[in-house]
């Protein structure tokens, strides 16, 4: 039957073999009984009727042998010999089982057995250490969740909620007398607040939040303004005064709107410390939803 080996090899090599994997540099053999893993004349299990391999199953190393007589009976062709766990003994076992076999097979079997024992040792060592569990991530899902997180963050409007809370607490008096406003400023603010409350009811309805905020902030703002005059002098003074005038004189909404726009243009500069509020809204008439812009600033 060895007559067939050469023919088989010439067919497998030249035309098609389902186990052959071709790379740019090398030919591999995917046959599970292949001794070296490469596709070659003397390592091909199909092209050599007399063949031997070493394989391991569940940590036990076996020597598989096949002779020319048994090739016609595929389910009986491989003879399985369990090798000793002792490496030297296993080598001897190989030697005695493959006694008059070609040297190539003997050599490769021993090499393969060595490799297998080495990787088994490594496997055992690894299991003793902490095993990192690999968890695969699904890209699509991760991306979706991240985006949702961001959106939820924005939707929560944490900063405004915090503001609200703080202001509430301040009102309640949780902080007691922590903040030291100059008395004059404080009273002024209170006074202004009273006035504003009357005229700002409408406003409060339309603004989503921060009606109170505005008031409070106006108080503090007023205090701050008094305290830090040069800041006021730059931008706020005129506006403030004009605005106040507006408030008291009840001028037309148009003008105020115009002014508002102007004011809107410099929200950041107006407040030295509190940059949240876009200041000069104090317009009597209801304004279109500028709260969004305001909040962001």
């Amino acid at each position: 039957m060895q007559n067939n080996d050469d023919i088989v090899w010439s067919i497998i090599n030249k035309s098609f073999c389902s186990f052959k994997v071709n790379t740019k540099t090398q030919k591999f053999c995917r046959h599970e009984y292949n001794l070296t893993g490469l596709c070659g004349r003397y390592s091909c299990p199909l092209a050599n009727s007399q063949y031997a391999t070493i394989r391991e199953e569940k940590g036990i190393i076996y020597l598989y042998m096949r002779t020319a007589e048994r090739t016609a009976f595929p389910n009986k062709s491989w003879e399985k010999v369990k090798l000793s766990r002792n490496f030297e003994k296993a080598l001897q076992q190989i030697n005695e089982n493959l006694l008059y076999w070609p040297n190539y097979l003997k050599q490769k079997c021993k090499q393969r057995m060595l490799k297998i024992t080495q990787y088994l040792i490594r496997m055992r060592k690894l299991t003793l250490r902490r095993q990192k569990k690999l968890v695969p991530l699904q890209r699509k899902i991760e991306r979706r969740e991240n985006r949702r997180e961001e959106k939820a963050l924005i939707a929560a409007r944490i900063d405004t909620a915090i503001e609200k809370q703080l202001v509430e607490r301040l009102k309640k008096g949780v902080y007691g007398d922590i903040y030291n406003f100059p008395q004059v400023a404080f009273t002024k603010a209170l006074a202004s607040e009273e006035v504003q409350e009357e005229s700002d009811d409408e406003r409060e309805e339309e603004y989503n939040e921060g009606g109170r905020e505005e008031e409070m902030e106006e108080e503090t703002r007023a205090a701050l303004e008094d305290a830090t005059e040069y800041v006021e002098a730059e931008s706020d003074d005129e506006d403030m005064e004009s605005d106040e005038e507006h408030e008291f004189t009840d001028e037309g909404p148009e003008e105020s709107e115009v002014e508002d726009i102007e004011d809107m243009a410099r929200p950041s500069t107006s407040k030295g410390k509190k940059s949240k509020v876009s200041v000069e809204y104090e317009l009597e008439e209801a304004l279109p939803e500028k709260t969004k812009v305001k909040n962001r600033v």
């Binding site: 067939n4 088989v8 016609a72 389910n75």
Partner: protein, 440 residues
């Protein structure tokens, strides 16, 4: 390279040309018959029941399985045969010509391609007729009278068929083709005739499972996929692998039982087709024979000693080499005995050296030339010295001593002194006294 080719080359290198080989009939005939006997030994194949038990019967392997396996022939014949089922396609013969376009000629600052006549529509003035024009006819419009089918010589067809049957009996080739045959009891697999009377698919499936051919069918299931390319929209949407082929002697319902199992093909022994035995042009399909089919093979294809009874005038192809085990042949005593010793160190051509210019080349040819040359050189030297002597005498100018001369004289002097010293050192006996005057 085929074993024959390799063998002839090896032998030629050893000084044995194939021609001469033919002449060595007496040794090789013996060799041939002996080897032929072993190579063509016909083993017994056991027949398996449909439950994968060995029945008592065993058959001789039909001689077809010893036929030469020639993948080149199979590939060629398959290629030709596969053309025979084609349906013609062509474009409409009028396509692109249903216009009365004419070229505007030169002088109009446009290309000279024929253009559509008339006006009032987009089409007017557009190019027509050419393969490069939009709406023109294609280059070389396809015709229905293209030669679609191919004829193949009967003998070639039979050769290919026989080769593929032989290849199906080699487990290595069947495995390399990709069939999952590692659990079947024997190859070639022969099953009892009971299988022929299956009429339910269930029975067929159970049978395949029992003889462990089901893994091959499972592989077919796993390989089901959509075709790549436009075939999808041309009624060739799905693709799958080929599974086992069942060859029967007589159909008693077997076809109905196996036809719904994906990948499984069914074939009568009397009507074997290369397209089924070597799908894709590659040898080594997994075949399950029924007993009657297996028995019929010898009659259908013949043995070398007796021609086929079913086919007129047909006998199996004779192989070019009966024993193809090249490594064994080259180590065989019978062959080695007849060869000359190998030339491990071949003699290479040596460059010719001119003896008139190269002294050693001259010496190789004529060793006496050395003597002559030396003589010549010495005579010249002597003459030269004589001349100098003569001149010295004539002119009265003493010759200068050469270095060698000086040293020679010094040496002599030293020796004399050394001798005298040694003599003076030794005690003067009577003998010595006698010798001393003699020496002086």
């Amino acid at each position: 390279m085929w074993p024959v080719a390799i063998l002839s080359r090896c032998l030629w290198a050893h000084g044995l040309s194939p021609k001469w080989l033919k002449n060595m009939d007496h040794t090789l005939k013996h060799l041939k018959t002996a080897k032929m006997a072993s190579a063509l030994a016909r083993p017994l194949i056991t027949v398996y029941s449909e439950k994968n038990e060995k029945t008592g019967t065993s058959l001789h392997l039909p001689v077809v399985f010893k036929a030469p396996i020639r993948p080149d022939v199979v590939s060629f014949v398959h290629h030709q045969m596969s053309k025979n089922r084609r349906q013609p396609y062509a474009v409409n013969k009028d396509a692109g010509h249903q216009t009365s376009a004419e070229s505007w000629g030169t002088g109009r600052a446009v290309a000279r391609i024929p253009r559509v006549r008339g006006g009032g529509t987009h089409r007017s003035g557009q190019g027509a007729f050419g393969n490069m024009c939009r709406g023109g006819r294609m280059f070389a419009p396809t015709k229905t009278w293209r030669r679609w089918h191919r004829r193949i010589n009967v003998n070639q067809r039979r050769f290919a068929l026989v080769s593929s049957i032989a290849a199906s009996g080699v487990p290595a080739l069947v495995m390399s083709k990709g069939h999952m045959v590692h659990d079947i009891p024997e190859l070639p697999l022969v099953v009892s005739d009971k299988v022929q009377s299956f009429n339910k698919t269930k029975q067929a499936v159970i049978f395949l499972r029992r003889i462990k051919a089901w893994t091959d069918v499972q592989k077919v299931y796993r390989s089901r996929r959509l075709r790549a390319g436009k075939g999808k929209m041309r009624n060739r949407r799905r693709v799958q692998r080929r599974g086992p082929l069942i060859i029967y002697g007589e159909d008693q319902g077997l076809k109905l039982a196996f036809r719904n199992i994906p990948g499984v093909d069914v074939c009568s022994v009397k009507k074997l087709s290369l397209l089924k035995l070597a799908p894709g042009g590659h040898v080594g399909r997994f075949i399950i024979w029924t007993e009657s089919a297996f028995r019929a093979l010898d009659a259908i294809y013949g043995t070398w000693s007796s021609p086929s009874s079913e086919k007129k005038d047909y006998n199996l192809p004779t192989p070019k080499m009966t024993n193809t085990d090249l490594s064994r042949l080259l180590k065989a005593e019978e062959i080695r005995k007849v060869l000359r010793t190998p030339h491990k160190r071949p003699v290479r051509a040596v460059r010719k050296q001119n003896p008139l210019r190269n002294v050693r080349a001259m010496l190789k040819l004529n060793p006496y030339a050395a003597v002559l040359k030396r003589k010549a050189i010495l005579t010249i030297q002597k003459k030269h010295l004589d001349k100098q002597e003569f001149l010295a005498k004539k002119t009265g100018v003493p010759l200068q001593k050469t270095k060698q001369q000086v040293r020679y004289e010094q040496l002599i002097q030293k020796r004399k002194e050394a001798i005298q010293k040694s003599k003076a050192a030794k005690p003067k006996t009577a003998k010595k006294a006698k010798k001393a005057p003699a020496a002086k």
